[in-house]
């Protein structure tokens, strides 16, 4: 094993419960970042088409209801 990867092995893979924790944590982190990135991309594809883009026109705020 190259010397550079030794610390990674020691901190992440050496103990099973640490390894398991790393798997779960990274799954959550990946899911969140991936979903965020994809939602951004989706919103760019559909700029101006979705409800959230036109919602502001129809939502009545406190001032409007006077």
């Amino acid at each position: 094993m190259p010397a550079a990867s030794r610390p990674i092995y020691n901190t992440l893979f050496r103990k099973n419960f640490v390894f398991l924790g790393v798997v779960f944590a990274s799954a959550f982190a990946f899911e969140m970042t991936y979903d965020n990135a994809m939602d951004k991309l989706w919103d760019r594809f559909n700029k101006g088409r979705q409800w959230k883009d036109i919602r502001a026109k129809y939502v009545k705020t406190e001032e409007d209801e006077e």
């Binding site: 979903d35 994809m38 989706w42 594809f45 409800w51 883009d53 036109i54 939502v59």
Partner: protein, 325 residues
């Protein structure tokens, strides 16, 4: 079978002509030996031609019986095929245009709803799609619905709630037929899925009424001519005319604009999950592409020793050993 026995008989004739008479061979081909003597080149040609004619004829007959597609109706009865329009919301990475959905709902409410029900759509589904919660509540409250039985068991009327479904114009199908000259206006909730051609068909139908039926077209009493409608006689008259509704967002309400908006709205009512489905589909495609690329790389990585190894063979008896010069 016939052709094969003919071939065999020519062989028998040739053998006889050469004077080489083999008793056992003669016995083996005895089944055709009776016709062998009578066969001449003309007879053989005739037999071959007849066999071919029978084969081709039987295939033609079979195709005639079972080959061609059956059409129960004439093209006029099928209706004109609708034009393919480049719907933006059909594309794989596009949502509905919710501004158009809102306009389409307005068209439905002001025009279609007087005859057509939309029975699978409750007011709550409009929230966050075409209207805000407050707007949807106000619209629901404009209608009356049966309440639960009160203490005396009487059923009273109550204003609508978000969970109530859009009210139907007629009490039941019979009432709808009676009011429409015997024709039942179909429920529009799933109409885009329920008709061949979907959006294209409905758009063509709504905008395809000619000024007057073409010469020679038979239009029964009480029906209107529309080439896109199967049978061309449709009970619904043309309903969309320019400036029929006044859009609140200022869009010019041309016939085609209204038809386009209401078709998109009806597509939403048939497939309200489409926005979410396409977004999830994109995520799935992206991640499975990445995983597929990864699996290809792993396969190549694991196979590389096997693919690049070199096998050498050292003969046990003599021969040069590899590596020695």
């Amino acid at each position: 079978m016939l052709a094969r026995s003919c071939l065999r008989s020519t062989r028998a004739v040739g053998a006889a002509r050469n004077g080489v008479v083999n008793a056992t061979k003669r016995a083996a081909s005895s089944s055709s030996s009776s016709t062998a003597n009578a066969s001449s080149p003309f007879g053989l040609n005739l037999a071959g031609s007849a066999a071919t004619a029978v084969a081709v004829g039987s295939m033609t007959w079979y195709y005639h019986l079972y080959g061609p597609e059956l059409h129960a109706m004439t093209p006029a009865e099928e209706g004109l095929h609708p034009t393919k329009y480049p719907w933006e919301h059909i594309k794989w990475n596009k949502t509905y245009d919710h501004q158009a959905l809102r306009r389409g709902f307005q068209v439905y409410q002001e025009v279609c709803a007087s005859c057509h029900s939309l029975s699978r759509i409750p007011y709550r589904t409009l929230v966050g799609v075409t209207h805000t919660v407050d707007e949807a509540k106000v619209m629901a409250e404009e209608n009356e619905y049966d309440s639960d039985p009160n203490d005396e068991g009487e059923i009273e009327k109550r204003p609508g709630k978000l969970s109530d479904y859009l009210p139907a114009p007629y009490k039941n199908d019979e009432a709808a037929r009676a009011a429409n000259n015997g024709a039942l206006p179909p429920d529009l909730s799933l109409i885009v899925k329920a008709r061949h051609g979907g959006c294209d068909y409905i758009f063509s139908l709504l905008t395809g009424y000619p000024e007057e039926p073409p010469a020679g077209a038979a239009v029964p009493d009480g029906l209107n001519f529309n080439p896109y409608f199967p049978g061309t006689g449709i009970a619904m008259a043309r309903v969309l005319y320019n400036e029929l509704v006044e859009y609140e967002d200022g869009t010019p309400a041309s016939t085609s604009q209204m038809a386009k908006d209401v078709v998109e709205f009806l597509n939403w009512s048939a497939e309200p999950e489409m926005d979410q489905r396409k977004k999830m589909g994109m995520k799935v495609l992206v991640i499975s592409t990445a995983l597929f690329a990864l699996s290809v790389w792993v396969k190549r990585y694991k196979w590389s020793p096997i693919k690049t190894r070199k096998l050498t063979y050292t003969s046990p008896t003599g021969g040069r050993r590899p590596g020695r010069h």
